[in-house]
Symmetry: D2
Subunit: 269 residues, 4 copies
């Protein structure tokens, strides 16, 4: 199975970048399934709306994952609660609207997409390790193709979860730091791993937000409004191929920036 995943889409520049490049990415990678993290796609970089989700579906994004900004736009509650193509972190507390994983058709099989939040330096969510165990038990033998977006800050927590799930899922791909890491590998048992996939959003920015605002925040320690600047954008993603048993056979990082219009780095098992 051929899986394309795009990192946190930030604001309008991120959305535009995805819209512009998706046709080329599809032509190049011929994915059976495209997933994108949409937690920052709202104009202010916080949350998602129904209209913005639709704009991603329009360019052939199949599934949208989220993160700690899941519920930042009030109007998205309906979307998150009902749309089977939207996956919010599974370790939000019991009773949270929406679904923590979804199953869908891709290629000539099925795939499960899971979203989890880390806790280190993040918030008070349920245990992501045990939540993963529970979901894998629920998935059972419905499919061996399992993609997990681990939305977390700490490298240790992401590597630990991937190691814990090694051989039990097809891929653990980190999101949230908005900076792509260079450590793609395939763990024993065929689990593709990357600590962070990076983001799709403004290039001349601080992790997608206006440079001046973020620097001002660090300098002043005062409440500061972060804004998503306009201008040139970048796109980061990852392409994973699995065999018929759901084992990853390759993982390839994707990075498109104004300076380096198309760059991939691969890892073949």
């Amino acid at each position: 199975m051929r899986i394309l995943f795009l990192g946190d889409i930030v604001g309008h520049p991120g959305k535009q970048m995805v819209e512009q490049w998706m046709p080329k990415l599809i032509t190049h990678f011929r994915p059976d399934l495209t997933i994108a993290n949409g937690e920052n796609i709202a104009p202010n970089g916080r949350g998602i709306t129904e209209r913005l989700a639709e704009s991603l579906f329009d360019v052939e994004v199949d599934i949208i994952t989220l993160g700690n900004h899941t519920f930042d736009q009030r109007e998205s509650m309906q979307l998150i609660s009902t749309d089977r193509r939207i996956v919010r972190p599974a370790n939000y507390p019991q009773g949270t609207p929406g679904q923590g994983y979804t199953l869908c058709r891709a290629g000539d099989g099925q795939i499960a997409i899971i979203n989890l939040l880390g806790r280190s330096f993040m918030g008070d969510y349920d245990d992501p390790f045990r939540t993963a165990d529970r979901i894998l038990a629920e998935i059972g033998d419905q499919t061996a193709h399992i993609f997990l977006d681990m939305h977390a800050e700490a490298t240790a927590e992401k590597v630990a979860l991937a190691t814990y799930l090694s051989g039990r899922v097809s891929a653990v791909i980190g999101t949230h730091t908005h900076v792509q890491t260079a450590d793609e590998r395939i763990l024993p048992g065929g689990t593709a791993f990357l600590t962070d996939v990076g983001m799709c959003g403004p290039y001349d920015s601080i992790i997608g937000f206006h440079k001046d605002g973020v620097i001002q925040k660090f300098l002043s320690q005062m409440p500061t409004r972060f804004e998503v600047p306009q201008g040139e954008a970048q796109l980061h993603g990852v392409f994973i191929e699995t065999d018929s048993r759901g084992r990853a056979v390759s993982i390839e990082r994707i990075s498109i920036t104004p300076n380096r219009p198309w760059q991939t780095n691969g890892f073949l098992n």
Copy 2:
């Protein structure tokens, strides 16, 4: 000026990896100066000792930077206090033993090496932005070649500091997360930047520590002793070249892992 920098060296496997590869790295890159982050070189991954510092100097590491584990080995206090080749984070409180930056000869010029700690998700250190300002004022026109090791957790804080210092230092290279990022670039004014350079240490590990211990910590939330495992190791670093005015002209990531014995990724201005 040609500068080689190696990320956090973790335990005995990290030290061995550096000892094994330094001759080849020197042959290949012909650095005028080699810097390494030594905050994790003690056998348990915490701190440094005089003997271990000497072992790095023996393989032609010129300068050792540190981080949040600077003072974890009591016996290193003397070393840190007196050795001009050791740089501890400059934003430890006033009166802290040791130096926050050093000036040394490299090639046919001078270079300043600065070490700073981030505060986001870290500890209660002095403001790294204003500390950088103060040090740059102290350096004045002694040299335009300035290398800064920004030891920090949060991507936003690292990118913000680099952006803040853009055009005022030759390079801002992040350390601490132990995972190399793929975002090397040269910021306006000639400041080479990489969010994190990664580490030198055990490959089959969780950021350098024994997998079982780290996973057990996340699963049990109990006090857990982290140990540095033996076995195959990896090395991560970065090579930067500056022009005569101290502006970066290239930055090249270095990654040596058991699977990919030598890989570099460059960025040319």
Copy 3:
């Protein structure tokens, strides 16, 4: 039912203070049950041992609760795993040795003692609110007398939990900050509440630890060993009386310090 509860016992001075005063407290309050938080009773202020637990049982402490230092002494694992008089926080992850609540006879009835950890500024534990719900369901109609030690840092989290459980438990008494608060009250439905009961330990100290060490830690930001000083001690506790339906009818703070040898402050419904 008459319930006496003593706050975190810190080190040898805390133990001695409890040993010295328990006879007088028992004479004065005639408790049906005495509970003490023992998470800091080890000589270094971290954790508990079997011998130290026995010394509390010897002076008629009936039940020992714990906190974030529960597992700091390795040798206590056996004690915590098997002794029905020891209650460790119930929201440690599933599979943790020991019990999160216990039922015992007191007076002519039964009482349940629950221990929970807060998460704000603490660690990654399970949700204390839902854990409380689950335990209350398990207790069912076995008893209406329910005492809860909420071991937490943030005032908001403690008040929120008490408010959430108002009318469902007899008492929610906070521990962990080692400073007694002055906000005792009885919430609607008969739930006695106090944000923090304070500690039993060295008086001339910083929350039970040697003043110089703690100040040095704040000044230097270096690793610092905290020690429990010898010298005069203080004792803090709370006395609660419930009616036959398990509703609190009174809550009275107890504070014994070198300057004010016996002081209580009551709140009658």
Copy 4:
């Protein structure tokens, strides 16, 4: 000198409570100076406005201290920048508008009022210990009457600062947790100390905010708007008397709640 201090005033109910009780408090305590923490007086509990500051001055509050919510109301920037009766935390970074301490006449002498922020579980401010040292040096022998509002979360940090300044200031009174502690004492050298003075605001609330909102936040981990409820209010403060050399001779807690309309607890040296 006779000093009256009121804890964090929360919203309209807090303001009304202060307006209602100040005449009686003044009659009873005959203060030479009244200080109040106004960081939560805005209707939503975040920050202050010029009009609200004036309403406090109108009821004979002389000096207003602040905290981590200092800059939450944009329109207060002018007030904070220019009014000598407003003191914002001194350890905001250099260049922050406003003043970190003020000197004013009280009785037949002078008094300095200092405001500091803690860092543990708070934000990235300058070192409160060294900032206190610097301010005390600036005050020099202008006055020996020095009142310090330590706005901090962690008990250890507050006790440590008070211990550090013992004998150098007249009083260190904690704010921020909104719950009054019961540990008033006079430290060696004549420094009155109380870990937290508590707040003036809604009684049937969670630290001043609507119970349902705060509980919902803990239960859902979603973004939740905290509101200040109307209804009965409480007032918490402290009264300190110093001798002519600026040494505290007494400290008396003040607590006025719907259930206990007037209660004080004193400590005489």
